[in-house]
């Protein structure tokens, strides 16, 4: 399957919502606006010639310097033709809502919960959106760039010795 074929078809259906496409990397990448992400994924999954029927991966990403800092990256895989595609979408920190894809892929359930846990991205329509890996009473989203990695309760570490 050719990259141009996919992008053309996507353009035909979601003309203005396809913000960017990049064919130079290892996998064809398209960036779409957040409201249509569910439709794009459904289109990729269910259209006859697309058939991206396997959600390999779903994860968040945070670019603190951009206008739309929080992102979600989907990796889809067409198993019969061995073609992968990467779909991205970005949202703001103040209103990080994205439609869920759990109705298309059961596997998205925990992936989205993990993304919520790490980045605080809210997946609309998710059946059970709560923290998965961290403790429930945690009040920040640890993978956002502004939060530190280190355990704040340690006193035996002197920052001066670690070049920080």
């Amino acid at each position: 399957m050719e990259n141009t074929y996919i992008t053309d078809l996507l353009h035909k259906h979601f003309s203005h919502d396809i913000l960017e496409k990049e064919t130079g990397g290892d996998i064809l990448t398209v960036i779409v606006t957040s409201p249509v992400i569910h439709d794009v994924i459904r289109f990729l999954k269910e259209t006859e010639n697309m058939n991206f029927n396997f959600l390999t991966d779903l994860c968040g990403i945070h670019y603190p310097d951009r206008g739309l800092p929080l992102g979600v990256v989907y990796h889809l895989h067409n198993l019969s033709e061995n073609k992968r595609i990467r779909v991205k979408t970005f949202v703001t920190v103040s209103n990080p809502t994205i439609p869920t894809v759990t109705d298309l892929f059961s596997t998205a359930n925990w992936m989205e919960r993990e993304t919520y846990d790490f980045y605080g991205i809210l997946f609309e329509g998710h059946p059970n959106l709560k923290r998965i890996l961290n403790v429930e009473y945690m009040d920040f989203f640890p993978m956002r760039k502004e939060y530190p990695l280190e355990d704040p309760t340690r006193e035996d570490k002197d920052d001066r010795y670690f070049g920080r």
């Binding site: 990397g25 390999t56 991966d57 990256v73 990796h75 061995n82 892929f105 596997t107 998965i132 990695l149």
Partner: protein, 394 residues
């Protein structure tokens, strides 16, 4: 599947987080009607270690030790998968010798992973003998690791662009001895379980999942193949010269515990074949690529030569330019497609690194697989899925 009825009394049972039969730490809250499971809810994250956050703070070669601790039953696969990802980003091409050496180590790792999983299925169905027997073999693989990398479990094997040292003659000899002896053990192990009436009664039809549901749940690896889908990353997108070899991908039909056991067992045989083939055809050549800006110079040279010392310092301090870009690379891990999604902004550390952990992804199907079954079958189903806590919680 049974629905929850209002006027009936159900038992709630806490399976975990420190239950002896859960090999690893996760909690299942089961709703039981007598012995039948009506509902299950999982809690995970009991050993969440924030790998992805750490990875954003560490230079590339320091991330290898982290990958060890993902699926610690098959650490070399994780290490090498990570190295392959970075090599993809840097555009380094490895030689055949490196590839073959990697295949040998990755297949040995697969052998240990499957040995542990299958013997534990035996233990959970009441046959401790096989476990103790095959663990002897696992020790031998650990001795090989020690010979190649110096560590037993958390191997931190190889470097970006090859290996830290070549196979020593002793290592080659140990690998040979191992693959010559393992078939005998496997035959005996299979005799013990494969056609054993009790074992078959305990496992056939237990915890089944259809191929379609398995795909929808993102299953990969032996668990998916047991459900009848022949997806294997080694064949679909060959990496590290896997396409030079011929091997069979075993598939099951029912997707139940017995099929998962058989698929893993068959893969053990294929792995033995692969190791033997790779070892026999091991090409001559260098064990690392010529990429001085990423490959750490040998220690002796660092201590005695100025040039090497400078390079060592530059690499360790991250003074090296890394291309900006993003790559996704996946390898066939012990229990499925182990993916690395790496975003680089040119800095000394990854901007973002996400691990696609197969265990995390397929464990969410567990309630669906055990509903309607009985409690003791749930334990068997769990051990046959081979959920590794380190990989589950990252």
């Amino acid at each position: 599947m049974t629905d929850i009825l209002e006027d009936k009394q159900y038992t709630t049972l806490n399976l975990g987080p420190t239950h002896p039969a859960t090999h690893g730490i996760f909690q299942n809250v089961l709703t039981l009607d007598g012995e039948q499971i009506i509902d299950a809810e999982q809690t995970i994250g009991y050993i969440h270690r924030a790998f992805e956050k750490i990875a954003e703070r560490r230079p590339y070669y320091q991330i290898t030790p982290l990958t060890d601790r993902l699926n610690y039953c098959s650490s070399p696969i994780n290490n090498i998968g990570w190295h392959l990802t970075v090599e993809k980003l840097l555009g380094i091409k490895t030689t055949k010798r490196i590839d073959y050496m990697r295949i040998i180590l990755m297949e040995l790792a697969r052998i240990t992973d499957h040995l542990v999983c299958n013997s534990v299925i035996g233990v959970d169905s009441g046959a401790l003998t096989g476990f103790i027997y095959v663990f002897q073999e696992r020790e031998k693989v650990y001795e090989i690791y020690e010979e190649v990398s110096g560590a037993r479990l958390t191997t931190n094997m190889g470097r970006i662009g090859g290996f830290e040292r070549d196979f020593t003659p002793k290592a080659v000899q140990k690998i040979r001895a191992f693959i010559d002896h393992l078939p005998k053990v496997l035959v005996e192990f299979e005799k013990l379980l494969l056609r054993n009436r009790i074992f078959m009664d305990r496992t056939i039809g237990v915890g089944p999942i259809s191929g379609e549901r398995a795909l929808n749940y993102g299953f990969t690896g032996p668990n998916l193949r047991a459900a009848g889908v022949d997806y294997d990353v080694r064949v679909m997108t060959p990496y590290s010269s896997y396409d030079d070899f011929e091997f069979v991908i075993p598939v099951g039909t029912q997707g139940d515990t017995y099929d998962r056991f058989c698929v893993r067992q068959q893969e053990l045989w294929e792995s033995v074949k692969l190791v033997r083939n790779a070892l026999e055809n091991l090409p001559e050549g260098n064990f690392h690529v010529d990429a001085p800006q990423f490959y750490l110079p040998p220690k002796e040279a660092v201590y005695s030569k100025m040039e090497s010392l400078i390079w060592h310092f530059k690499i360790v301090m991250g003074e090296i330019d890394v291309p900006v870009g993003e790559v996704f690379h996946s390898v066939e891990g012990g229990n499925g497609e182990l993916g690395f999604y790496l975003v680089s902004d040119g800095g000394r550390t990854p901007f973002r690194l996400h691990f696609r952990r197969p265990g995390f992804i397929y464990y969410q199907a567990y309630p669906e697989m055990i509903k309607g079954g009985v409690l003791s079958d749930a334990i068997l189903t769990m051990s046959s899925m081979n959920v590794i806590a380190g990989e589950l919680d990252a």
